[in-house]
């Protein structure tokens, strides 16, 4: 187990290093010379040279890369082009809002998926099962941003029940979380339903019942523990979608998270900020996947103990 942990942690750091490198290359390639961008368009060459020297941009690219890595290790992500902000402070202030949105969405979606998935697995072919199938098909085809617009139109504008934009309190969660849950739940429900049906057909489920274990206990311990494994993997994989989805949702609902920060900075061409936001988003994603992997292995002894894959 300890060795497994070490190996996975090493893997995670390698992927993070790759991510950092990629972001560095991407932004250097895409944004061009930061020194020119930082100064007014008609700035003289001397000013630009000075900026360049100040930022270390007159060094060769690999030296710049090493500087960049060193700065990152120190927690220095540079300065915003506008105003005297540390990128780190702004990004770290935005991160909790994104995480809160994503976590609430995942929790709500997981509960919905477990309830609907298990119910439709146990009552296959029933009206409930069919209704769930219709929901899954429809929700899957709904463009997320459109649903967000519609929800705002109906609940905020026409009915006035819920706040449309900005973060003002718990009620602000309702519309963005609903929007994102509609995107996330279909695949979760399908997976829960499917793995539940498969697990119910296993010999050990019948064997547990034959030993006198009550049905409820068999479902909640024996079946759920096995059937939840695919769900957990999936949640990990989907955390990407939730994060990616949240960037769009944040823009629509004016949610002060990483996604909105990235898009706003992009529009105002505030590149250090974009860089910081993308980096944090990517690292958060890698870390989430790591955590999911670990959870998975704790739940499944076949992986933890390295039995056949």
């Amino acid at each position: 187990m300890a060795w497994f942990l070490v190996r996975r942690t090493a893997q995670m750091f390698f992927v993070i290093l790759c991510v950092v490198t990629l972001v560095f290359i991407l932004l250097r390639a895409a944004s061009g010379d930061p020194a020119r961008l930082m100064n007014a368009a008609d700035a003289s060459d001397e000013v630009i040279e000075a900026t360049r020297a100040r930022l270390g941009l007159d060094e060769p690219v690999y030296v710049q890369y090493l500087y960049y890595l060193r700065n990152l290790l120190r927690g220095d992500m540079g300065q915003s082009f506008y105003g005297a902000y540390d990128v780190r402070d702004v990004v770290l202030a935005a991160l909790p809002n994104t995480v809160a949105l994503a976590v609430v969405t995942m929790l709500v979606s997981t509960v919905i998926a477990l309830v609907l998935g298990i119910a439709s697995a146990l009552k296959r072919g029933s009206a409930l099962d069919r209704a769930v199938q219709v929901y899954v098909a429809a929700a899957q085809a709904t463009p997320n941003f459109w649903l967000a617009v519609l929800l705002v139109l109906v609940f905020a504008v026409q009915l006035g029940w819920l706040p449309a934009v900005d973060f003002t309190g718990p009620a602000s969660f309702v519309l963005p979380v609903t929007t994102m849950a509609v995107a996330l739940t279909p695949i979760l429900i399908r997976t829960v339903r499917q793995s539940f049906i498969e697990t119910l057909g296993e010999d050990y489920v019948r064997a547990a019942r034959a030993r006198g274990i009550p049905r409820r206990k068999v479902l909640l311990v024996h079946v759920l523990k096995v059937a939840s494994l695919p769900l957990i993997t999936l949640l990990g994989l989907q955390s990407a979608m939730v994060l990616a989805g949240s960037y769009v949702i944040e823009v629509i609902f004016n949610w002060p998270g990483i996604g909105k920060l990235a898009v706003d900075s992009l529009v105002s061409r505030n590149f250090p900020m974009v860089e910081g936001a993308v980096l944090v988003a990517a690292v958060a994603f890698v870390v989430i996947n790591f955590v999911v992997d670990m959870t998975y292995s704790v739940l499944d002894p076949r992986i933890r103990l390295g039995a056949g894959t």
Binding site: L26, A141, V149, R209, A210, L237, A281
Partner: protein, 701 residues
């Protein structure tokens, strides 16, 4: 979003695999696929022919007709979908929007698909370094938040042409295709014909395109369509956020974003383009359904398997599509109405000692004055509902088991042996029903007992062991947890006592270090060890009756002997009645006191083991005995019984064994022989031994 595609796909294919699909649903799915594909064709036509289809120039402004409602909301026919804030025709804009949205997505799909198939082929075919590098690259790419990077790249550009969007959307999709194609290639390339081509000296490239590509590319179309629906949404999202095509090009996401500015005054403005996107995605998803249905080999094989093995399935409901834990146990056998004077559930609350002279008098199989047997199965009939019809798995089976005796049930797979034992346990699942007969256990008719009573019986009173010991233990719980749980639930022990009892039980089945075994997961133990765990677990509850369903089939010979010894010991020590189910008549001959031979859900012969084995009356029993390998005889002499079991889905006419019988007579195909005495306690259902009986006698079988 790439992550989204991958996981979506896996779950989708999982979802496709498991459900039992009848012919009707198959047809419906094919129709859905057809509708989907023609929908895609229509979309493509609209996209290409936009200039001819659109009634107006999408950019021309009619400032006198700003924000007109659509025709169904009181608008004019000139602008059927109304106009936007600067008087542009919404319908024309939607048609032109299809152009960029659909065409860009299709091109991106083609780009990603081509890249992915090529890299997948290379990765699978060359292996080693190429493979490692490509797949790691893919892993890292999947670890990046795609949409954010797409936004960054596109946001950097001042002008975005369709080519830019196609590149940004298309390139990252490669990994999804590459992974699937790669795994397909890996399995295909070892096929004989490829090796043959290789030894003939075909060049690598030639091998790749000639032999490996065609089968590998079979898996691509469904993935491509799923990818397409994601791309449509991605493209709209990007243009909605303002990172799509720069004007004057139009796309749905952009129209939606424009419409949002005026959504209070004209709610249809954001609604219509959204509907267009949604319908497009739905159409693509329908096509995916259709493709999945006739394109996935796994699915097709399942179906033919099913047809070929109807009878097999009847006997092993574990393989039935959607077998489930039944809610109400063995309920359901109320065909007799309520007038039956036999055991009603009420007089059997709880156990009453050893069950002698207990509540009321009950009739049982054999006859009046004898002591009541532990278990009496009488005229049991079991049916299964399957997508292809009702399967009669058990058609009138009767036998009795006494305390301390071993009854062997023998027959080939599909004869209904296991179903009979599941019926006794009340664990037939949702699809299985007892449709006739009774199962009287210690005075209680189990076919009528409510679930609460069954729960008191399963485990503490009737134990069950399964064919596959590893599969009958939960893989993610330690065996210790499982035995402790069993003891606590059934005997109400606290955790510490249960642990102690469990360790003792493990000790008695021969584990030298019970504590160590308790901590193990089933996959860490061998088959024989698992079966011993099962014995310990089952016997720790001290049941009166043990159903052992092929307990040694999955084990090697030495272990088989050990497990059988354990069973005999259990019988010696506790006086447990045992039903030993096996297809191995040799094993039954060694240990059973009485034997029941089953064929096609019926009893064809029964009697004391010695009599039946030494003097078999039924041709099927003789055939089974002929199929037992004799020591020293070469493998080839093992006589397999020619022919197949009759279909369990058709009503039987005549003797079920007639088609395979060497002694078949004219009467055999007309009438089903009754089970009649041949000697004392020895019954045979065969016209070789008695004349065809009168019709009413026939019915008593």
């Amino acid at each position: 979003m790439s992550g989204g595609i991958v996981s979506d796909r896996t779950a989708a294919s999982e979802a496709a695999g498991g459900d039992g699909v009848g012919l009707l649903q198959q047809l419906r799915q094919r129709k859905a696929g057809l509708v989907g594909l023609s929908g895609i064709a229509v979309l493509l036509i609209v996209a290409v022919a936009a200039p001819w289809l659109a009634p107006h120039d999408p950019a021309s402004q009619d400032l006198g007709n700003v924000l007109l409602p659509p025709v169904w909301a009181g608008g004019e026919l000139t602008y059927p979908f109304g106009t936007d804030a600067i008087g542009r025709d919404v319908l024309s804009r939607l048609i032109y929007g299809a152009r960029s949205s659909v065409l860009i997505s299709v091109c991106a799909m083609l780009l990603g698909g081509t890249l992915g198939v090529l890299t997948g082929l290379a990765s699978g075919f060359y292996g080693r370094l190429v493979d490692t590098v490509l797949m790691r690259l893919g892993d890292i790419q999947l670890a990046l938040p795609f949409i954010l990077i797409a936004i960054v790249i596109l946001g950097m550009m001042r002008d975005r042409s369709p080519i830019h969007l196609i590149l940004v959307l298309g390139i990252p999709a490669w990994i999804v295709y590459a992974r699937v194609v790669r795994s397909r290639v890996l399995s295909e390339r070892e096929q004989a014909y490829v090796s043959a081509a290789r030894s003939l000296g075909a060049s690598n490239l030639r091998q790749m395109f000639r032999y490996v590509l065609p089968p590998a590319s079979k898996v691509v179309p469904p993935i491509a369509l799923i990818d397409l629906s994601h791309l449509v949404i991605m493209e709209s999202t990007l243009s909605f956020l303002g990172f799509g095509l720069t004007s004057p090009s139009i796309s749905w996401g952009q129209i939606l974003a424009d419409g949002r500015q005026n959504m209070i005054a004209s709610p249809w403005l954001p609604v219509l383009p959204g509907l267009a996107i949604m319908l497009t995605v739905l159409t693509i998803n329908l096509a995916v359904e259709g493709l999945r249905d006739d394109g996935t080999p796994r699915r097709r094989r399942r179906r033919s398997d099913r047809k070929a093995a109807d009878a097999d399935r009847a006997a092993a409901p574990a393989r039935l599509p959607g077998r489930e834990v039944s809610i109400d146990g063995g309920a359901g056998g109320d065909r007799d109405g309520d007038g039956d004077p036999r055991a009603s559930a009420d007089d059997v609350q709880g156990r009453d000692g050893d069950g002698d002279g207990d509540l009321g008098v009950r009739r049982n199989g054999g006859g009046g004055g004898q002591a009541q047997p532990l278990l009496a199965v009488e005229d049991l009939e079991v049916e299964f509902d399957t997508p292809t019809g009702v399967v009669e798995a058990v058609r009138g089976v009767s036998f009795t088991v006494e305390r301390g005796r071993i009854l062997g049930i023998v027959g080939e797979s599909g004869s209904g042996k296991s179903v009979t034992s599941f019926a006794i346990m009340g664990l037939l699942g949702e699809q299985g029903h007892v449709t006739g007969g009774s199962i009287t256990f210690d005075g209680t008719d189990l076919t009528r007992a409510p679930e609460a009573v069954m729960r008191g019986i399963r485990g503490p009173r009737i134990g069950m062991m399964f064919q596959n010991p590893v599969g009958s233990l939960n893989p993610v719980l330690t065996v210790g947890y499982q035995i402790v749980e069993t003891l606590r639930v059934n005997r109400g022990m606290d955790r510490a006592t249960a642990r102690q009892v469990a360790e003792e039980a493990f000790g008695t089945v021969g584990f030298p270090d019970p504590r160590h075994v308790m901590r193990q997961y089933p996959f860490r133990l061998s088959g024989g060890q698992n079966q011993r765990v099962m014995i310990a677990m089952t016997m720790a509850l001290g049941p009166d009756l043990l159903l052992a369903d092929e307990p040694t089939t999955a084990l090697d010979v030495t272990t088989q002997a050990e497990v059988i010894d354990q069973l005999l010991q259990v019988r010696e020590e506790h006086g447990t009645g045992i039903v030993l189910i096996s297809h191995d008549i040799g094993l039954i001959g060694e240990v059973a006191d009485e034997v029941v031979v089953m064929y096609a859900g019926q009893v064809c012969e029964r009697g004391p083991t010695e009599t039946v084995l030494n003097d078999p009356g039924h041709p099927y029993t003789r055939a089974l005995l002929g199929a037992v390998p004799q020591p020293g005889a070469p493998e080839a002499q093992l006589a397999a019984i020619p022919g197949e079991l009759p279909s369990a889905q058709q009503p039987l006419v005549g003797c079920p064994f007639a088609d395979r019988c060497d002694h078949v007579m004219e009467v055999c195909s007309r009438r089903d022989p009754a089970l009649l005495p041949l000697a004392e306690d020895h019954d045979v259902a065969c016209y070789l031994h008695h004349e065809p009986a009168a019709p009413e006698q026939v019915a008593t079988r």
